[in-house]
């Protein structure tokens, strides 16, 4: 797969419903995102907002045909991520990132479960490793 091309890869990881339970208490995450599936997108950060109630990125993703489309990457509250020690300073507009997460029920939206920086560093919003039961994923 082309490194720079769109990698909206439906992993078809049909997680057991119970795997999402650690996040079930979170505001309206299950309402807004399909936590039974995960997808991966790769693109260039164009906007970074460390805000409450949801931090978010905008990422330009280049499709196979060459056209560029914007995705909105949603995260938990910036305050929660600060408490978890999430290294916000490592995200810079213009950098290439990979986002792994649950697809939104709105087009081109995704809830970040894990991100991979250009140097290969992987991290979750909670700064805990992901486990099969979903721990460490979206807070």
């Amino acid at each position: 797969m082309n490194h720079k091309s769109l990698t909206v890869t439906l992993l078809a990881l049909v997680l057991l419903a119970s795997a999402a339970q650690p996040t079930i208490a979170h505001h309206s995450v299950p309402v807004n995102f399909d936590q039974s599936r995960e997808i991966t997108i790769e693109g260039v950060l164009t906007d970074i907002k460390w805000v409450n109630p949801h931090a978010h990125f905008r990422v330009n993703v280049t499709e196979a045909g060459g056209s560029v489309i914007e995705w909105l990457v949603e995260m938990g509250a910036a305050n929660t991520m600060k408490r978890a020690g999430f290294p916000m300073e490592r995200f810079v507009v213009g950098d290439r990132v990979t986002i792994i997460g649950n697809p939104g029920r709105r087009d081109r939206t995704i809830l970040l479960n894990e991100t991979v920086l250009k140097d290969g560093t992987r991290m979750t919003p909670t700064m805990r490793p992901r486990t099969p039961d979903g721990a460490g994923s979206a807070n």
Binding site: H27, P30, R106
Partner: protein, 236 residues
């Protein structure tokens, strides 16, 4: 003279340090007034145990309102609005701080920077003094008292909206007629919060939720929600 100057300099340093102290600095809770349960010697955060919802019965009109809810546009949080006390307590990962006084109780919720100072009243008195929350008119007018070890908060005159916007209960409506009672009781490091909503316009039975918080060392942080950012839910 030199001594005075030193004192002034010291005072300045103390004040300046206080001004620049990070919001996360440990606070020292004021003493709990005699006769009141201790709810304020630690802060609280979600995660003290399972949340339990009761079964409820909609009125016909309530069911229509519930079915008409559209999460893509109706969630009051998109406008930084805390719609109901149940919705507020259901929000995870934000801190609640309680301050107890002889004639008031103050609850500060990190979520949406809700700062609630409620008068303590005699619940048997007619038309007691109530207080609303500055900046959050949707949340109604509250009065409080202690029932033994339990803090009871009684709220009326909320704005129409939604009791909760979460999961399969997203869109449970509330009307101007809704009456809310919160019961907060501490057992060790767990704070149990029971909310009861009676809203005859939308439900034939009370809506009850039990939510458990745990003691935390985290301090309150500024939330700073703005509708412009909270409403960002789609790419451009």
């Amino acid at each position: 003279m030199r001594s005075t100057a030193r004192t002034l300099l010291l005072a300045f340093v103390v004040i300046a340090t206080g001004w620049t102290t990070d919001a996360a600095a440990q606070r020292v809770a004021p003493p709990v007034p005699a006769g009141q349960p201790d709810l304020s010697s630690s802060n609280w955060i979600a995660g003290g145990g399972p949340t339990v919802f009761n079964d409820w019965v909609f009125t016909d009109a309530g069911k229509k309102r519930f079915e008409a809810y559209d999460f893509k546009k109706d969630d009051p949080a998109y406008g930084c609005i805390g719609a109901s006390w149940t919705r507020i307590y259901l929000n995870p990962n934000v801190v609640i701080q309680v301050t107890q006084g002889t004639d008031f109780v103050r609850l500060q919720y990190e979520w949406m920077d809700i700062d609630r100072r409620i008068p303590l009243i005699d619940p048997t008195v007619a038309n007691p003094k109530r207080a609303n929350v500055p900046g959050h008119p949707a949340l109604g007018y509250s009065a409080a008292w202690y029932d033994g070890e339990t803090l009871v908060i009684d709220t009326v005159d909320v704005e129409p909206g939604y009791i909760t916007t979460m999961v399969e209960r997203a869109g449970m409506p509330q009307s101007r007629r809704m009456h809310t009672v919160e019961r907060l009781r501490r057992q060790g490091d767990v704070l149990t919060i029971q909310t009861t909503h009676v809203d005859a316009a939308n439900y034939r039975t009370p809506v009850e939720t039990v939510i458990r918080y745990r003691a935390t060392d985290w301090e309150l942080m500024h939330y700073g929600c703005t509708p412009e950012e909270a409403a960002v839910v789609s790419p451009r």
